[in-house]
Symmetry: C2
Subunit: 567 residues, 2 copies
């Protein structure tokens, strides 16, 4: 493409609300423009990146015999009523009525539609397994669309669904999809981790997330410094503690602790490690219908992990309880304990089970119990409630857990019969018995990947595209297009590169060198060949965008140098 004919409206101004590098640079470099909150247009350069990602996904899916379909974006609300999700999805599900007053939704995901497609068409185990996917626009009416392409309302997603006659076959396909997703991210040139994920809300028997590592990621990951283990903190586990602090020596007793309310105060007051204190966190658990107060008890050295806590009671949301709410039901803030507690539902963290020498609230102002043996609580509701911290032990190898930030670009999920059972999508098994399909689902954020590349690869000058995602791999820039011999050389190089299948931009614009250079850096072509005065001495320069290194090359050797660099 000739730059003079290309539509790449670069600008110095970033969108007012832009905080993330991808939002700033993709806008400034003319890859996308915003239409309204969470709605974006892809301009030619952005669309090229999208197409490249799409092509790689299609190739890897074809290699796994996954078959591409294209489902209607506008979908009848009835299907969502059948599955019971129309209520659960809430306002994110955009609903409207057509001219005949029928209710439809704009598909935010396509489980129901995909089940509907195979229902009554795939009738025997002999027709299984099946893996169907699409790459398609989705819509979610997010309450707070933000971060540019990262959390838009309209976005492009690859969503795949597999159907099986046994859990073993689902496991096989799940592993195959994990491997395919890994190859896709490797081909895109991204640094990533595949981590264990929370599968609380939807249910199912296991799920993993594909996380592109980037400081701006919204997700916190717990990763092992020694082995492959990684998990979203929402789902991370840790090895049992190997070093337990020395236990305080005390018999069970009620102890006056005036105004000693926080774990820190308590730990200082008794000169004990917070490990031996019991922290009470009261939350209002919100359900599809109604809500209740719940008290979560964890060790004082731990932090409550909200998603784990939410899952432990099956809530759709947790909200901090106010002091007034506690007092209203007869609790004493700062002194809440689990013993003889009947004013509130309680959930205890697994790590408190059989805890001894514990200090906890007495449910009476200014008093704590010491020397508590928690085995008296063994009939209580226990669950994993705490955040894995940096320094905790890896549950696989005992190595050290570190925290890092990631952008979720994919999610693979063993659904089991979560959708097929309510939607009555069944097949006849080998014994002629009707069974619901066992399903897996495999999502990948295609438009989000465009942003993720830039979150991981940028500098203060702009975008740095990887080889596989670059809109053009090489930019041939002529410093002064009035120099006929320079233009002639550039034209020949441009033709040669293209004939070798190397996608090339020819910057033939009648603009100053500095202006063109800024554009090249902002847009982020991996390599820019600068054709300038030195051509008269037989050499040109190649700017390597990732490092901004300038390589001086013999004008006759540019082709082979580019081939070497891009190999």
């Amino acid at each position: 493409m000739r730059f003079s004919k290309a539509y790449i409206p670069t600008t110095k101004e970033a969108p007012k609300d832009a905080q993330l590098p991808s939002h700033i640079y993709l806008s400034r470099a003319g890859f996308v423009t915003q239409v309204a909150a969470g709605l974006y247009n892809f301009l030619p350069m952005g669309k090229r990146v999208l197409r490249k990602i799409e092509t790689i996904i299609n190739e890897e899916m074809a290699a796994c015999d996954a078959q591409e379909v294209d489902l209607s974006f506008v979908t009848p609300a009835e299907l969502w009523e059948e599955s019971g999700r129309i209520e659960k999805f809430g306002k994110e599900l955009l609903r409207f009525r057509d001219r005949k007053d029928n209710l439809f939704v704009l598909g935010p995901t396509h489980e129901e539609m995909m089940v509907n497609i195979v229902r009554n068409r795939v009738t025997s185990y002999k027709q299984l397994p099946l893996n169907l996917y699409q790459i398609k626009t989705k819509f979610r009416d997010e309450a707070r669309p933000r971060f540019g392409l990262m959390r838009g309302r309209e976005f492009v997603m690859k969503d795949g669904y597999s159907f099986h006659s046994s859990n073993e076959d689902l496991d096989r396909e799940f592993d195959a999809m994990e491997a395919a997703y890994k190859r896709i991210l490797e081909r895109l040139g991204l640094e990533f981790r595949i981590v264990e994920a929370d599968s609380g809300a939807i249910g199912g028997t296991g799920s993993k997330e594909l996380m592109v590592l980037a400081g701006s990621g919204e997700d916190t990951l717990a990763i092992c410094d020694s082995c492959e283990y990684g998990a979203n903190v929402e789902a991370a586990r840790r090895a049992p503690r190997t070093t337990i602090p020395e236990a305080p020596q005390a018999d069970f007793a009620r102890f006056k602790t005036p105004n000693v309310k926080s774990i820190e105060d308590l730990s200082n007051f008794f000169h004990v490690d917070p490990y031996y204190t019991l922290k009470a966190v009261v939350q209002r658990a919100v359900y599809t219908e109604g809500s209740e107060l719940v008290c979560f008890f964890i060790r004082g050295c731990d932090e409550l992990q909200e998603v784990k806590a939410r899952n432990s009671v099956g809530a759709i949301d947790l909200v901090d309880a106010t002091e007034a709410e506690l007092i209203e039901i007869g609790l004493v803030p700062g002194f809440i304990g689990p013993l003889d507690q009947d004013k509130i539902r309680i959930v205890m963290d697994n790590d408190t089970k059989n805890g001894v020498s514990m200090i906890c609230g007495s449910n009476e102002a200014d008093f704590h119990f010491v020397g508590v043996d928690l085995s008296v609580m063994n009939e209580a509701h226990f669950a994993d409630l705490v955040s894995v911290q940096e320094g905790d032990g890896c549950p696989h190898c005992g190595g050290k857990i570190l925290h890092t930030k990631g952008i979720e670009v994919g999610h693979i999920f063993k659904l089991g019969t979560v959708y097929s059972a309510p939607l009555k999508a069944e097949f006849l098994d080998e014994n002629g018995r009707s069974q619901p399909f066992i399903m897996g689902t495999y999502g990948m954020g295609v438009s989000r990947l465009v942003a993720a590349v830039i979150e991981q690869h940028h500098d203060e000058k702009g975008c740095i595209w990887t080889h596989a995602t670059a809109p053009y791999l090489v930019n041939v820039m002529v410093s002064n297009i009035k120099e006929e011999s320079h233009m002639a050389y550039a034209e020949e190089l441009y033709a040669s590169l293209q004939s070798r299948g190397i996608e090339t931009m020819l910057d033939d614009r009648k603009e100053r060198f500095g202006f063109k250079m800024s554009d090249a850096e902002l847009i982020g072509f991996p390599y820019t060949v600068i054709v300038g005065k030195e051509l008269e001495n037989g050499s040109v320069q190649i700017m390597v965008r990732a490092t901004r290194e300038m390589i001086t090359v013999d004008a006759a050797d540019v082709l082979s140098k580019i081939e070497e660099l891009t190999r």
Copy 2:
């Protein structure tokens, strides 16, 4: 692909409402499934055909330096208010409010959005011309969605828009797009005509439609039997008559014609050719606001062309007037004439101008005027109002006009400043003056093309795909998969064909020969290699789907025969 792993749910049952071959066969052969009225899912085979068409369009657009974008499907209603189309589009434009109560529409076409993209970003004539396009889902809430993919509510369209600084440059791009569209349809293997089209409703200075010729087409085309001329009947012109019937000899007179109301009666009564009678057609013209009765006068031998009539008064619709409506305003049904007519707005057909020896209604029951000289009407509103008939003369070469049926798969349009002016999308010209962009628009129905291929290419057994559109070019079918040597041969052939880049299906299903043969015919692979008993004598058969001819080929020569057939 192995048929045993492919998702191709063929069935003997056609959808209840299906009339067109494409609707019947694309459903029966498992290419598409219906979701709701006018909403379809593309299953794997259908999606492959869509992708193939899309790829050819993308290649031809790239060759013209048209650049692909991807615009938000959900678009703010404000843009449609700015252009004034929100009302004009009526109920086809699906509107809804998001969770924050902002009004949006589902894009049925993207003129406004595309203008919005270049507005304030392309500011100088130096940045022109520009041609931007997308291939994207569209939604129109059709009152009567029907004919399967032919007239759906959700559909895939290629919509392109060009921006120019002069009409000459628009003309050049328009011609380039016409040539590109022609190449696309040629590559798809379709028989088509590019015809002159009506450009009434939107305005603009010229438009052409791409029509795939098929008996089931909704459009009637007037085409010349000698030259390239073709036009939608809505826009067709004809050469002036060369043979004029002998004129009746009569002076102007009022003549009693009791109960002689139709043109046929009148022509018989006076023994004159209908050419010399004047037909009055009264219609209620409906405008964006309000309506009125209009009387169109044409020669008795002609037929009123509704679109031309509608355009002549700028109406959005014409509805037959009832006798009661005529009587109410004082007209006499059967005897309406143009002379001294002040009860109704009248429009005269161009061909009546200066007509002599005419017979027309006298606006009095049971009386006509004869010997009328219509030059007295020269101040009236004249327009082209009539349908071009078979046998009329070609306006270009004088050849004979024939009628044929076509499916509109594309429309190219010189818009001029119809959108850019109201949306104030302007650039600075060479003299530093602000001017609205001069625009062209270029649409192509991508999902409709899938159906159009089948409308033109099918037989009583099912689909017949062209080489470029076939989901797989070759189907290798093993009659009995239990015969190991047959399967071994088929596997090797399958691998060889694929390694040569020939997309191949291997029908390895454990099904009867007849069943597999019916599927092959229904699905419509261009070539099916039948590996059966004759392999033991060293030969196989190739079924050519288009003709259902069976070619016996030496088993060793199949590859070269296929290459010869598909060359």
